[in-house]
Amino acid sequence: MIEKIIKIKDEIGFHARTSSLFAKQASAFQSEIFIEFNDKKGNGKSTLSLMTLGVKSQDVIKICANGTDEIKALETLEELIKNNFTT
């Protein structure tokens, strides 16, 4: 399993649209993807789960990926966040 700590720069954070974009990208990978924030753990492939975390702009989250394609998954998702969710 690999993990990475990333700061959210998007103006709003994980709201409906960004959560959906993140979940869609995460679902493309075989690995399990989790987001940890404020002692809460969310399923990275679930829009609902990501929304419930309440991640706001400038918050710092931890992404964990576990599986055969974990490196690629983490790279892709990190890229997505760095680009403010524009794909």
Binding site: I12, H15, A16, S20, A23, S27, N43, K45, S46, T47, L48, S49, M51, T52, G54, T87
Partner: protein, 528 residues
């Protein structure tokens, strides 16, 4: 104006936790319910696809996404397992937890999603309990009065019997307000105070222009609004009646008013609203839900069934304008930074020539024996683009004839003028191209460097109007010297403020959504 129909939406669901005998069968039923709910949502989306814009249709995509959410499914199954309880109770508990957390975040965007979850949860529970949703069944034309009304209920309503909708919750930007506007149903939302006083059958008047609700109006108001309604109805029926004739201005300038269509329903509307012809047939809209590349016969039969609705007129059919913004299961879409500027329309068509362009061109050529077909080429950026597509069409024409499929004559082939590089240089095209149609929506976004689908820059688009009018004028003057016709489709075509300008420069035709035709024709008749 009409009697109130009180919608008792909050009839409560009866959800009791009970022990079950087989966890497996309960989980199976839950999974089945998810699939049924997805199918129902897709069905509603289909029903609404012609009445709503691309943005508005996304409401249904958001619903589908929730219904397919892996965690919602996983949590509910875990709940059934650990409590060995009934699926409807599990759905209720799990979704309640979500909505509670989401509402606590206090973000209006996310709260809207929470409302969606409440509605979908209700849908799933009703499916599991094998009950029907409280459908709105009206016997007489009425105004629906409700605490709130779900988008699903609104979609399944018989639009002919709904005179208006008022709700106690909601603001002007919520889904119901947007949907009812798109459907042309007068609505007022957020009237919590007044609504409690309304009794079933009370006479109501909704005045959307004044955002006013009149409860139990006096005779004075009834007469006043009766008269207003009558006048409005009379005017639109006169406009509709006259709409079936050709239209000229008072001084005798004539212009064709055509319809933009993308479906069978649109073609029917085009005919009933008095279009002179089909000015823009967006063929890609016919195949958005197709599972695989449409083959030649699919193209042929889909277009034939649509054109048959309105057979005698001129049909301007645009070649497929797919792009990476429209995810298609059969197109292995490569993600692009800027889909509007990317590999779309003919660029994509040539990339998948045998699967996309070729079957369409062959089908259109075959249909040209039966209908008056004009082929319109989208996203032409240069002379090379034009030569490539024109030669391709001629090649397919010869090929068909050599196969023994006799095509009587080559249809007219025109350019959709939407890329500035073409709009600025009519002299390169007017000799060899048969006709031109200005696509003002794309032209606006390319001229202003403002993405049409990006709300934060949408204010730029309207500022391009003047420049576009100048381009159209210059183009038309030169084209007319060669005897070539120029039409305008896109937003500007139905902009009443541009009408006299178009008439002055002798534009040959305008193409617009069918429902706007009677009003525009009326405007023209009153122009000098």
């Amino acid at each position: 104006m009409g009697p109130a129909f009180l919608l008792n939406e909050n009839y409560s669901l009866n959800i009791i936790k009970s022990k079950i005998s087989s966890i497996e069968s309960e989980i199976k039923q839950f999974k089945q319910a998810l699939l049924i709910a997805q199918a129902k949502t897709l069905d509603l989306k289909q029903k609404m696809i012609n009445s709503l814009s691309k943005e508005e249709i996304k409401i249904y995509d958001a619903h589908l996404e929730i219904l397919k959410d892996p965690e919602l499914e996983g949590k509910t199954i875990d709940f059934i397992k650990s409590n060995s309880c009934n699926a409807d109770y599990a759905v209720h508990e799990v979704t309640a937890e979500y909505t509670e957390i989401l509402n606590e975040l206090g973000d209006p965007y996310i709260s809207a999603r929470a409302d969606d979850i409440v509605m979908l949860s209700r849908m799933l529970i009703l499916i599991l309990q094998k009950k029907e949703e409280n459908k709105i069944t009206l016997n007489t034309p009425s105004i629906i009065v409700a605490d709130s009304i779900t988008t699903n209920q609104l979609s399944s309503i018989d639009k002919n019997l709904v005179l208006g909708i008022i709700t106690s919750h909601g603001g002007p930007t919520d889904h119901v307000a947007i949907l009812s506007k798109a459907l042309g149903i007068p609505s007022l939302v957020g009237l919590a105070k007044s609504i409690s006083k309304i009794k079933a059958g009370s006479l109501l008047i909704i005045d959307c222009a004044k955002a006013q609700l009149i409860l139990n109006p006096s005779l004075f108001y009834i007469k006043k609004y009766d008269l207003l309604l009558l006048k409005e109805k009379h005017e639109s029926s006169i406009q509709l009646k006259k709409s079936h004739n050709n239209v000229t201005t008072k001084s005798g300038t004539s212009i064709e008013i055509n319809a933009n269509i993308g479906s069978l329903d649109d073609a029917k509307k085009a005919k009933s609203f008095g279009a002179d012809g089909i000015g823009l047939f967006r063929t890609e809209l016919c195949f958005l839900n197709s599972e695989k590349f449409p083959n030649e016969n699919m193209h042929y039969s889909v277009y034939e069934s649509i054109l048959k609705e309105f057979p005698e007129v001129k049909h301007t059919i645009r070649l497929l304008d797919f792009g990476s913004d429209k995810p298609l299961s059969y197109l292995n879409n490569i993600k692009e930074e800027n889909p509007a500027l990317g590999s779309r329309a003919l660029r994509l068509g040539f990339k998948h020539y045998d699967n996309l362009l070729k079957p369409q061109i062959r089908a259109l050529l075959r249909l040209s024996n039966l209908f008056n077909i004009h082929i319109l080429c989208p996203m032409i950026a240069s002379e090379e683009d034009w030569i490539q597509i024109k030669e391709t069409i001629i090649l397919e024409f010869n090929q068909l004839n050599s196969e023994g499929i006799k095509i009587n004559h080559l249809p007219r082939v025109g350019i959709m003028v939407e890329i500035p590089n073409v709009a600025f240089r009519p002299e390169f095209y007017i000799e060899n191209v048969d006709f031109f149609s200005f696509g003002t929506n794309d032209l606006a976004q390319f001229l202003m460097a403002a993405d049409r689908t990006n709300e934060s820059v949408s204010n730029y688009l309207s500022q391009s109007k003047e420049s576009i009018l100048i381009l159209i004028k210059n183009f038309t003057e030169l084209a007319h010297k060669e005897g070539k016709e120029v039409s305008v489709c896109g937003e500007l075509a139905s902009d009443e403020k541009c009408l006299s300008y178009f008439l002055n420069i002798n534009i040959n035709s305008l193409s617009m959504p069918p429902s706007l035709i009677p009003k525009i024709k009326n405007e023209i008749r009153n122009t000098i």
